[in-house]
Symmetry: D2
Subunit: 344 residues, 4 copies
């Protein structure tokens, strides 16, 4: 940490900062700058101390404080130089083979779910998604089937062999979801629902943590820290588009975030082109771009009849389009040293 004093800050203020630094257990190191003093802090700066930034920056005469080290610890590649692998049944997320998570936005009924599951498995998906509890912008929208939806998902798994990914919204639903799900998803809107993160951290299941569209990469990493601190290191991050001024698409896929996360963290990172685009016509191009950028997988919404979907119809691919995407994905994956296994 480096504390930058205001130009011309009186000696007494500099002294007070030095004393505060010492009191906090660091050795201060004053750079004899020409225009302004800069005080470096020596001593182990671990994550617990990162919040001291706030304290020091409120002292008189301080212009600003800059962290030199990042504030996350368990998520940092420095604490774990090798990429992490997250095992979900037969699938290893973060390995050479890409995770392909596909399925409808919401579980709507048994036939829709099972038929979709068969279709996506036959096209090359190795994990099944489907929402039983849905976070909807409007209270008037379909809110999901709840436990009935979980049972349908379990049946689809039994039939296809695909592990299932489903979202939790409320701590009270966690037990039920844990009984059925292979992977628990924290949706974008709950990325900073810290108490839910902690609850999920103790549930003993792999977690997909989606980036909130208004949050920075470092906030996503800090959110993953909440889960890992509870002892669950099986966390997969998911980039799904950020809010920007561009309105030609619903969100803007932050494709930069993929190599950035790879550099800062050991956690696997996947991409959700369906939410990033909000329009099925762009989903395939964005999915391929994420794979080329180094993503460990993709999560794609597929619906047998998007015009009848109870949620997210406009961004869902039909099974035939998804099959086309899988064939292209296999080629792009191979081009960057990864693999998508196409059945048959």
């Amino acid at each position: 940490m480096v504390i930058i004093m205001q130009a011309g800050a009186p000696e007494a203020e500099v002294e007070a900062v030095i004393q505060a630094v010492e009191k906090a257990g660091f050795r201060p190191f004053v750079n004899p700058g020409v225009e302004r003093k800069v005080i470096a802090l020596l001593g182990k700066m671990d994550a617990e101390k990162a919040e001291l930034v706030d304290h020091f920056s409120a002292l008189p005469g301080v212009e600003r404080v800059q962290l030199i080290s990042e504030p996350y610890k368990l998520a940092s590649r420095r604490s774990h130089p090798e990429p992490s692998l997250v095992e979900v049944g037969p699938v290893t997320i973060g390995g050479t083979q890409l995770a392909v998570i596909a399925g409808p936005c919401s579980v709507e009924n048994r036939d829709q779910m099972v038929d979709t599951a068969i279709a996506v498995r036959n096209a090359g998906a190795n994990l099944l998604r489907g929402g039983a509890f849905k976070p909807r912008t409007s209270p008037y929208s379909f809110q999901g089937l709840g436990v009935e939806g979980l049972e349908i998902l379990a049946e689809a798994r039994r039939i296809t062999g695909l592990p299932i990914v489903t979202e939790v919204l409320h701590p009270g639903d966690l037990d039920a979801i844990s009984q059925y799900a292979d992977v628990i998803q924290i949706g974008a809107r709950n990325m900073q629902n810290f108490r839910l993160l902690q609850d999920v951290g103790t549930a003993g299941k792999p977690v997909i943590l989606k980036r909130n569209p208004g949050c920075r990469v470092r906030d996503l990493l800090m959110a993953s820290e909440y889960i890992m601190l509870e002892g669950n290191t099986n966390v997969v991050l998911c980039e799904r588009g950020i809010t920007t001024f561009e309105d030609a698409t619903r969100y803007t896929m932050d494709v930069n975030a993929i190599p950035v996360i790879k550099r800062l963290s050991h956690l696997p990172v996947i991409a959700d082109p369906s939410h990033a685009a909000g329009d099925w016509r762009y989903v395939s191009a964005i999915a391929l771009s994420a794979i080329a950028a180094g993503a460990d997988g993709i999560m794609v919404e597929v619906h047998l009849d998007p015009s009848m979907a109870l949620s997210d119809g406009p961004q869902s691919l039909r099974p035939d389009k998804f099959s086309e995407l899988m064939r292209a994905a296999a080629q792009v994956a191979a081009a960057v040293g990864r693999e998508v296994v196409l059945p048959g």
Copy 2:
């Protein structure tokens, strides 16, 4: 709702859309456009049907669908043309007198809280804020005193007479919080934690709902709808800055949102300049700007010694600065036909 077809969409696709519209219970009305067909939907378009946008936009030949009416209902000024008043003890939020909510970010200990409460009351605040359960970006940061914090808040209320505002993070804490708080706050990070909104909607207390910094005004209004649908219409909206590319301040106060919300909704709207700025040096200017723009109140972080604050020190005002702000606020309020009552 208006469905815009692609230029040159074949007649069969137009027909299919017309049938879908009829099936959904509307009367279709086809505009004989020169370049493309536009199908208007006649019939009561209530909020429940707003999600049909998604269905129709996924039909073949549809370019896009545009809502003509807004998707929120209870929050809309059209359903309630007069401004709503929210009563909290002796304070009426939304009336001529401005709500001035002040206090520390976190309750840290009894003395800090009581002394601050006295200081802000003496300066002109009419509501007291203080966090007992804290949502922190980092799990290594101070997370609040919990129920002990609530008890301290209650004591500060007993001493000063100021009603208390405090935040809920987890449904499991709601009973305890309801016992103590006069107003329950939903923080920015939980604005789209829809299940928590529903839980709070049934708690029978006035609610301050803070805007998530990555969400649009209409998302804020939709979130308030979740609370009001449960029968609780005592909702106060709070603009607290949005995420933008500008990094000179932590967030960008969306001052435009104040007159926008006033036009679209009957709910009172207040502003939080402390979070919008992230730097105490800008808090007073931003607070005054919000009042001039028509806000029904302000929420300001005040700390006796910001350099020792366990959270949000850099954006907290000292009591003397807060007093200065109150005197200026009284003048600006008077200039726009509102009132801040200064004691003594």
Copy 3:
């Protein structure tokens, strides 16, 4: 400037950085950090050297480089602690009395311009705006009357006594514009048209420099530096809204920028609520908020009949609404120790 090395950077890389620092004329100062080395640069760090950031950050082993001092010099309050005053005929921008610049977006014809000029003067404006050369998003839109427009502006000045503000788009028009204008405006889209800034810097007229809606405050200050370096320090900055994800208004007024600029720079800063809102219904509230935040003036689009305006009709006030705004502005200005002089 502080150079932060990667954790575990080998000694040879640290040495190479030290040598590069010395070669650039600085004295390096190595902080013996526990996890990573941080090298501070001692010696006069003036603006010319600010670009060294780029060089040093490309050296092997460097994590990143942070500027301690700001890169602008002439615009900085440190080089000129007192607020600057810009004199335009009888008006002093930056003094106690606010600059009120009003008029139509475009000069459309003689009667429209003269009648508007009289109306805004009678309401309290002290400067007249009007575009003769217009930057339009679409080439199919009205592009302005050119020199004829300048002549009409001059006549409006002769009749009302109001100094005139008009925009330059092309270096080739600068001579003609300088002949007529009292203040030359650089529009938002040309804020980083650096060659035009230099040309305007030599024209000997006060300049209003509008912030580009996609640029940070520090970019605005750097742009002003281009003008001032040519010897023209009569620069007034103008905040006019930034691009954000919020689409309820055309842009988001960055009201925070007003106190930020006041702290960082000595230059006067005004606000343009008309462009920030893009909708006349919000213009007055935003104008008052800017005054309360400390702006040195406002720039407002006024049109006799907005529905017939050749440009920016939807964001233009009618004269009667503008008069109302002036009366409110006078009260808010007084509340913050400033003045708007209402005629009669």
Copy 4:
């Protein structure tokens, strides 16, 4: 165009709008809505009339006006359903083979330029970039060699056979640049310098138009319209990152924009990963992602010794990294049916 009236707008206001519509040469078509009237405009709505939106939206009783057709004409895929090909010497931008434009940010001296040109050609580039006139945020930064730089570029072309791309900043330099350049670049900061666009439109050379980081895709398309209206349809669009709140990278590559532009326009679109990232460590991943998304080419900054570059060092690749990128690019291009030809 559709005009949406306010709910409950009186009949007289509806009538006035209908008359205004007729006066403007359209046939009005009133939808008998339940809650509010919607008036559709029948008749040829060409780009010249798009600005009528503004007029109509300022009429009393109008809630808002929505364009049904896009406001650009020559750039629209509807006016030209086949993809356009832009020929530059032996290279066809928009065809199967990708354009690979590489070189230093700035021309610094003869040896640097020639050596870089040879290096990028040998790695697979088919066009050479280099700035002779540089737009720099700071007036204290290197501003380019000017005409001397153009001469050096010409020599590099003579030696390598690569056509050259260079930027114009000022209309006064256009003649000189046209004499040397094969492709004229309009930089991001000048995307809405409309007069320069018009000047370049008459220069008879292919143009690369870079997207301003604060502008929407539709603004980019409107800007291209300025060039094409002058008779020059050889326009290549370039996505180079937009400004967002994410600060882990300098800009955010809007990879969505690639399929969006492909759908809306017939013009070729390339991507500049160097500016989008601002950090060489991310350039290759982003370049590959753009190719996978369907870009017609990439533009990459390459410098023999980035730590000595006079501009943009941190985002420049060394020639060996660029060679690696080319080999990966060839594979990803093949995976999506495109081609990068590697020499030897």
